[in-house]
């Protein structure tokens, strides 16, 4: 597991089909009018660029805590999502989450920031289970 929480995040509304995939950015289109953009660049710049293109954009960088997970079994123990559907939004450890896939094949899971601590604990616990560690 790897922490991704410092990436810039922009919530986009409007005709998101107009958006093109940029390098160093990860775009999760939720519907034809909703998308979340994860960027290594300045989220304020990205928001401005998208607003200029006629959409609404909000810098919500603090809104999500993210982690990259390599082991698919950890994911299978915390979500019933068919991993073939990534990128998408689905529940993870009983809370709403966004799923993406990094260039390295790791799966990126973003949850609301206020749930980050809880979800990290859930992931660590799942890892402990896979290692055969007794937790309780």
């Amino acid at each position: 597991m790897r922490d991704l929480s410092l990436d810039g995040i922009v919530e986009i509304r409007g005709n998101v089909m107009l958006l093109s995939d940029e390098p160093a950015e990860e775009l999760v289109r939720l519907s034809p009018r909703r998308a979340i953009l994860f960027t290594h660049g300045d989220p304020a710049d990205a928001a401005e660029r998208i607003r200029a293109a006629g959409m609404l954009a909000y810098d919500v960088t603090g809104a999500y805590a993210g982690m990259a997970i390599a082991d698919e079994r950890v994911l299978r123990r915390l979500t019933d999502l068919d991993l073939a559907q990534i990128p998408t939004a689905a529940p993870f450890a009983h809370v709403s989450a966004l799923f993406g896939r990094g260039a390295d094949g790791w799966i990126h899971v973003y949850v609301h920031q206020e749930l980050g601590h809880y979800v990290a604990e859930a992931v660590l616990d799942a890892l402990a289970g896979l290692e055969g560690t007794q937790w309780h």
Partner: protein, 101 residues
């Protein structure tokens, strides 16, 4: 309940990813009588058969849509995007009140 419901944007997902807002009802216009108002707020057809109802993909994309579902079998015949109406008589869902929380 473990049936799959097809979100218009995310595809088939387990029903517990969705919020259910009840059958589509008709919101009265103008100044309804107390009888008309109570009918709208509290009464439901509760059909044993196909009904049109409101769903939101709460744990997914978040979008609202309508589904035609057979309440006897949970078979979902169709999912439809809402077509907002300018004014007059509007199809709106039930009144979940505080249960929405």
């Amino acid at each position: 309940m473990s049936f799959l419901l097809s979100c218009p944007f995310c595809g088939p997902r387990p029903v517990d990813e969705y919020a259910y807002f009840g059958e589509v009802t008709k919101r009265p216009s103008g100044s309804p009588s107390l009888r008309e108002l109570t009918d709208y707020v509290y009464f439901r057809d509760n059909v044993a058969g196909v009904q049109r109802e409101w769903w939101q993909h709460r744990s997914g994309c978040g979008e609202w849509f309508l589904a035609e579902r057979d309440t006897r079998t949970n078979e979902v015949l169709e999912v439809i995007l809402p077509q907002p109406q300018a004014d007059g008589v509007r199809p709106v869902g039930s009144d979940p009140g505080n249960e929405a929380a």
